[in-house]
Symmetry: C2
Subunit: 450 residues, 2 copies
């Protein structure tokens, strides 16, 4: 949605080249709000507005534009301005942006960056996607542990404009090994002892993550410990960067959306729904619809196979979709609950037995519920239906809950995302089993019609 509140004023300022007001607009409010108010401008106009502020504020506001606008600006403006802009971005945001650009254009931009920024960019972009290394920023407060409280405060003052957060101070030795961490809160608490050394008040066993840890595990750790930022270290416990709370919120949202999309039978979109090109959307939906389709095709074979029995007892066919969907729905429920519980860390693989026992009970209870609800319907149809359908419902729902809960655990065990393809497999298995069980219950229960 486009925010049009200030649009006429902005256009007027641009037309009359009102330098002071344009600068005021860029600097008075939060850069995210500034970006929002510019959403009705063309990319060209937006860039003109940005030219009225400092390079660092410009990069900050630019960061809050949506990707399409960012790409347009990068493409249309002269190289020099673009390089200055990219150089002023936070290192982690810069790498994110470059990763989404065309390879040769990104490489060209990187080559033009100042040497220090170039090195940093190359180093950060070497970490695999979705690892701590790919999300971290190297801009942080690193101090020697022998500094005093007063010296540390002076350092914070000096660094405040440069780093991502000044609220944690990381104490390192000469080779950058992380020795401890001190919050700025604790530093301020200690101002009454200005000569105290940081190593007397620092926490000596900070919570850290490894640079190759999965971003989902990082998010879980930050949430568990209510941290503002978490330090990222290598195998030798050397300090490489930090991941801050705002990136964690993005990770949590991203991972949760991916799970929800997999549960709903779509391969996760890399970008927003409206930003995803329609062919991409077609692909991400098609690669899930097709296995589901082939699974459902198997039911056609099964029905064909049982045609004799289905003809023999006319009512069987009426309730076939009901049986199949009841199994599918309960299986989907179980898969969903196990996937969300695994993602939020509520259950782990070692809980598999507890989960199984719960799901078997649940299958029996839910199957019985549906069976009981069916009785009055069956009564109006045929006595046989009153027996066959409820028995089948219990068995099929039970099959659904078992398959639905086992598959995500199996995927997790195999080192895959538990939501990966659980849905089509559950549907495929439960559909076929449903038909087989249904017909065989009928054969066992019903006398052959004369």
């Amino acid at each position: 949605m486009i925010n049009t509140l200030f649009l006429p004023e902005l256009r007027e300022m641009l037309k009359s080249q009102n330098v002071d007001e344009l600068r005021e607009f860029c600097e008075a409010i939060h850069p995210a709000a500034t970006a929002d108010f510019m959403s009705g401008l063309t990319s060209h106009e937006a860039w003109q507005v940005l030219n009225h502020t400092s390079p660092s504020t410009r990069a900050e506001i630019f960061h809050y534009f949506d990707r399409d606008r960012q790409f347009e600006i990068l493409r249309d403006q002269d190289r020099e301005s673009v390089v200055e802009l990219v150089a002023n971005m936070a290192p982690d945001d810069r790498v994110d942006l470059l990763n989404e650009l065309k390879d040769d254009f990104a490489a060209e931009l990187v080559d033009l960056l100042p040497p220090e920024d170039r090195l940093e960019t190359l180093r950060l972009s070497a970490y695999p996607e979705d690892t701590a290394g790919a999300v971290m920023t190297p801009d942080l407060v690193k101090l020697p542990e022998r500094l005093t409280v007063t010296e540390a405060l002076a350092e914070l003052q000096r660094l405040a404009g440069e780093v991502e957060t000044i609220y944690y101070i990381y104490l390192v030795d000469d080779s950058d090994h992380l020795r401890g961490v001190l919050s700025t809160r604790d530093l301020i608490s200690s101002l009454s002892n200005p000569e105290k050394q940081l190593n007397e008040i620092m926490e000596t066993e900070p919570i850290t993550v490894d640079v190759y840890d999965d971003q989902e595990d990082v998010a879980r750790k930050v949430a568990q410990y209510d941290l503002l930022a978490i330090p990222v270290v290598d195998e030798q416990h050397r300090m490489l960067g930090i991941i801050t709370h705002d990136d964690i919120i993005d990770v949590v949202r991203e991972e949760a959306t991916e799970d929800a999309q997999r549960i709903g039978g779509v391969a996760p979109l890399e970008s927003g729904y409206l930003q995803t090109p329609i062919w991409r959307l077609f692909w991400n939906r098609g690669i899930w619809l097709l296995p589901l389709f082939f699974g459902a095709l198997l039911t056609a074979g099964a029905i064909q196979n049982y045609e004799f029995q289905l003809d023999q007892w006319g009512f069987l066919i009426w309730f076939l979709p009901l049986i199949i969907s009841s199994g599918g729905n309960s299986g989907n429920q179980s898969a969903t609950l196990v996937i969300t519980a695994l993602t939020s860390g509520n259950i782990r693989l070692s809980d598999w037995l507890t989960v199984m026992i719960r799901e078997i009970w649940m299958g029996l209870m839910l199957g019985t519920l549906l069976g009981l609800v069916f009785l009055p319907v069956g009564f109006t149809v045929a006595c046989d239906a009153m027996i066959v359908v409820p028995i089948t419902l219990v068995l099929v729902v039970l099959c659904g809950t078992i398959v639905g809960s086992v598959l995500p655990l199996v995927f997790q065990r195999l080192g895959q995302d538990p939501a990966l393809m659980s849905n089509p497999f559950v549907a495929g298995i439960v559909d076929i089993v449903g038909i087989i069980v249904y017909v065989n219950v009928a054969i066992m229960v019903c006398p052959a019609p004369t």
Copy 2:
């Protein structure tokens, strides 16, 4: 999962009543880690360990226990200790805990709290669930705007141990109206001008939320502006509290899990999967399975109704589950994409037309894909199937994408959660439409068999 790393040592310390080591254990590491290491102890043992530290550290560690353990401790220990513990909790966590206790027990505890804590608790618990008021904490740094930088730093030092965060300073007038906000980062940057007044450096238009705003909207705002904490104000812009980043992460995770569960056809669980009693789980699954079941029962009526036609062209029945599931799956995909896009703020109600156009195209493309894939199968069956099934697939998938994308938008328009019951409605509508379309396409396309 239970962390057993320190369990033998802990039991040994308790047995020998090693006061120093037990205090060290409680105080040396992060309280969340301490709680984790105690997860193998009984509640009684855990309480004994906690008795070796100060009331405030005890309350901090207690906060990280899971709910079951918290309840056990509250139930089993003497009133006096329990009241001291609850009084020492952060106000927002205290209200969360009391809300989940039995009413009379919670009321009893509240009555025993010190007057100030009691008032605060009653005030906070008066806000409706899932609003900003219910998540906020009143512990924050509120200062008069005429203070100087040096005075403010001294105030921070004094308050550092008491408030939830010292990283934002809220400037208020005599009646608590919010006049501006200043980050501790900017305060530290300004240490070179120690006599400057805060109102010269504060941000005068801080981002705020209303106390009755939905927590989901609050989370979205915090994420958009990358804030550490957001101030909560009333209609008169008076400062009531703040919501901090750690609570926001919990909200994001909670809301995303709820969405995923609704997408998977389960009423959202209030607690973790393993902590939810089995009867509760039965209820949360049953109330979704039943409408889905009744929807599927309608298909039985439709099949019965079309029995003549289904008998006439034998192949129709073979592919009936395939048709129904293709429509259901594509509808589910559309609903999922629209729900996740609405939740993450990627689309808004005003985008409905764009969404509809996309989904109509998507339905035509996906339906055609499935229809083409079906052709070789149809070829082996009957010429009629090669025409009837693909045409039906296109129409049914189209119906799925339209219904699936419209319903969440309608729920959102009605002020409901877009994921609320979208799934059963989509399934119910698409199943029936699928059968009707299927048979009627057959009637139109196929010559009556002789």
